[in-house]
Amino acid sequence: MSTIELKSVTKRFGTVTAVEGASFTATEGEFVSILGPSGCGKSTLLRLIAGFESPSDGEILIGGNAVSHLPPWKRNIGVVFQSYALFPYLTVDANIAFGLERRNVDKAEIEQRTNEVLKVVGLDGFGKRFPRQLSGGQAQRVALARAIVYEPEILLLDEPLSALDARLRDEMRFELQRIQNETGVTTLFVTHDQSEALAISDSIIVMNKASICQVGNPESIWGAPETHFVADFVGVENIFDATAILGQGEKKLSGQIAEKLQGNSSTGDQTIGIRGRDIRVSSKPLENHLMVSGTVRGMNYLGHERVYEIDTSISPKPITLVAEAGQMLDGKVDLALSHDKFLWLRED
């Protein structure tokens, strides 16, 4: 297992920039997810690390060695593709043996290691089958087995679970986590699904429009998003503008004091966010809360909770309140927004 280090990596295709100034470090044995919407550059980033593309600028280091100009077959990596790319004309055994053969491992050892890795992924005895005889989940495991059997320095997974149905996906997530723990290989996992990334990663890199927006562990990405985009991506329902006032050490939100700061505060416009479930209903004014009155405009019943849309004076868009299933609201309501739950966001 090795570290992965990117230093200001940029990739341009003609006039289009797919990745801009990406820098991060993945430590040994870490499970890192690259999370972002379609077209944000995450797959390109993966392909750069794998060697299928060369960076226009910047450096890529694996295990401390600069690899930017090494072709993929010299990088000692393992890759699991979205389509699995199992060679249809070879058996499962032969598919797995492929990487070992390239490393001049002798036949007896190939057989032994192939059988071992099949056990690790839970497919003992599947060796003689052909890819077309495998189910989606089984094919995925073979692709994984094939990529790890020769103990690569790093493991790269390009949306490997997106072709599976929901239940299988949950199952495979646990499997992936278990296997990665057992082998301890530094892993980079590309996905557009935030719940997936939160579930299995040690660290998450959020990307949008070719740039890295935020890097952190799942708790900080979920609980403390730093930009408008990241907040929106992890499901913060309410994001709106506020105004900061210099000198008074306070940030004001439509006339009410939202937060008191020591020392300098920045002037100008700010974006803040607050989750629907962090808003309370209270007719009495509460300490350390921003009180807002509003009118209920719509409700969705979701079984375990009710989602309300409420028109208020602090934002042109309605505020989303997530309440318990038993809480029925209608007409005029008084909302309490806790100062502690406000997220101060950068625009990006």
Partner: protein, 275 residues
């Protein structure tokens, strides 16, 4: 809509439907007729070519098998078609790879050159070669000339078929092999070629068939020491009143059926559709 109009329009449409089916049936008969007639009359017991045949016998096939011109031209055709298809495969697979995966500058030029024998009429290609051969005074090397001419016309079949197969293949397979340590040569041998195999096989069969059946190029390049079967058949057809040409034709049709089934097995009807 009243009941009566529904009935009458359905009657109209039924008549129309049957008319179309008959029409299509006629075309099927039309397509099969000449081949059918030739095959059936080859099995005649009589001395002359008639349809319907007078009696049934395979005597003419035995007769043909003993004809020296049949045996030598049959072998010549097999030799020419095999060698030219083989050469076309060697050159064609490489260029198909270049066209499918690389987009070099001058791509259009390469594509045009590789497929050009399909654009120009076979007669013209044949005559142009004939012209050059006469100028160079090498017409006595008929076998080599024929092989050269057939290589020319079979290359596009291979290129088209293999290119299509390669272009339709996901590049992930090659990348997966690369990620596991396979150098480009290994990737070509162990991934590209196996995945292109149906295209190579289908293209080869089509190329071989075309070459075996060809007359347009072969009439210009044939010589006294090398004549393909189709050319011999052509001259035999003109002066012979016996069923020998029918028997030879039947043999050629049997070979064609074999190849047709082979291509169908390899990739199905879609091998013929798509240009």
């Amino acid at each position: 809509m009243g009941n009566s109009s529904a009935i009458s329009s359905s009657a109209m449409w039924n008549i129309g439907r049957y008319a179309i089916m008959c029409f299509a049936g006629f075309w099927c008969v039309f397509l099969v007729a000449p081949i059918f007639v030739v095959i059936v009359s080859a099995f005649t017991a009589g001395d002359y070519l008639t349809f319907p045949p007078s009696g049934w016998s395979i005597r003419w096939f035995i007769e043909v098998a003993n004809l020296s011109w049949f045996r030598s031209s049959f072998l010549t055709s097999i030799l020419i078609s095999t060698v030219s298809t083989a050469i076309a495969i060697l050159a064609g697979v490489l260029v198909a790879r270049a066209l499918a995966r690389y987009q070099p500058k001058g791509f259009v030029f390469i594509e045009f050159v590789a497929l050009s024998p399909l654009i120009l009429p076979a007669v013209v290609l044949g005559f142009a070669l004939f012209n050059v051969i006469n100028i160079l005074e090498i017409e006595q090397h008929a076998l080599a000339n024929l092989i050269a001419g057939h290589v020319l016309v079979t290359i596009p079949f291979i290129v088209r078929s293999v290119w299509s197969a390669m272009a339709g293949t996901d590049v992930s397979y090659e990348e997966a092999a690369q990620s596991m340590g396979a150098t480009p040569t290994v990737v070509f041998r162990k991934v590209v070629l196996p995945m292109a195999r149906p295209g190579i096989l289908a293209g080869s069969v089509l190329a071989f068939t075309y070459s075996f059946n060809d007359v347009s190029i072969s009439v210009f390049l044939a010589g006294s020491n090398a004549k393909p079967l189709a050319v011999e058949l052509m001259s035999n057809m003109e002066y012979s009143a016996d069923p020998v040409p029918a028997a030879v034709s039947t043999i050629m049709v049997a070979i064609a059926i074999g190849f047709f089934i082979l291509v169908e097995r390899i990739g199905g009807m879609k091998m013929f559709v798509g240009k």
